[in-house]
């Protein structure tokens, strides 16, 4: 079971779209996980394995840099799935 946060500055628009598409990607990849949204301030103190976010957030989330995955098109499900697949492989979650 993997815990993923989708993070945008406010945690209610883009991160919600990202959450929906990350959930679809998990289904496609057959990885069990829980996805939640957070704003850049509400992520502090949370326990998680990965953050899916946008490149603009990289400075504010610098302290989590090993756990960051970036997306530029929130609606491209295939791209999001490909990016996550690569990361999951690095993490040894999938073969």
């Amino acid at each position: 079971m993997i815990k993923i946060f989708t993070v945008c500055p406010q945690g209610l628009g883009s991160s919600l779209i990202a959450k929906i598409n990350v959930q679809k990607a998990l289904e496609k990849l057959g990885v069990e996980g829980e996805v939640e949204t957070a704003g850049v301030t509400s992520i502090t103190g949370q326990v998680f394995d990965l953050i899916v976010t946008i490149p603009e957030m990289s400075d504010s989330l610098e302290r989590y840099k090993d756990k960051l995955v970036f997306v530029t098109n929130f609606f491209k499900r295939d791209e999001i799935a490909d990016t996550l697949e690569k990361k999951f492989r690095e993490m040894g979650l999938i073969e």
């Binding site: 945008c8 500055p9 406010q10 945690g11 209610l12 628009g13 883009s14 919600l16 779209i17 929906i20 598409n21 949204t37 946008i54 603009e56 957030m57 530029t72 098109n73 929130f74 609606f75 491209k76 499900r77």
Partner: protein, 149 residues
């Protein structure tokens, strides 16, 4: 709550003329204000978000979704959508220029998720932004939503 509960016919306008991204956000915001969905200060807040955090709201090629926090004056969860007569640059290297702007107002973190999930389904189709941009009426915009939902 369905997408069409958020995106009501009076919240859609096609072929809107604007000079820059701020005007585009203001026009999309104006529809929300006129509907009574948000207070006028919500529109300023949407612009401030872009100034503060950058043009991340351009979520896909040609498509921007400005939004602000509920506390910024949101009254009723709603989505307005305008198509631009001439595209504008938000400063997003990946996804500019923008020709469809959908302004999101959400009263909380939960109630609009189903509707946004439906929006994600619609926008998962590559051609949708293009089709919206070419639509000639509110009715056509809604038909495209219906087709891909």
């Amino acid at each position: 709550m369905l997408l069409t509960d958020l995106l009501r016919p009076n919240l859609i306008a096609v072929n809107v003329h604007v000079r820059d991204w701020q005007e585009a956000v203001r026009e999309a915001g104006r529809l929300l204000v006129e509907d009574g969905a948000v207070e006028p200060r919500f529109v300023d807040a949407m612009i401030e978000v872009v100034k503060e955090f950058g043009p991340y709201i351009v979520l896909a090629p040609g498509f921007a979704m400005p939004h602000a926090k509920a506390e910024a004056g949101c009254i009723k969860s709603s989505l307005s959508l305008i198509t631009l007569a001439e595209p504008v640059e938000f400063g997003n290297p990946e996804n500019d220029p923008v020709y469809v702007v959908a302004a999101l107002a959400a009263v909380d973190h939960g109630s609009h998720i189903e509707a946004l999930s439906q929006l994600a389904d619609v926008l998962a189709n590559d051609s949708v932004v293009d089709e919206w941009a070419k639509a000639k009426s509110t009715d056509e915009i809604l038909k495209i939503v219906e087709f891909y939902s």
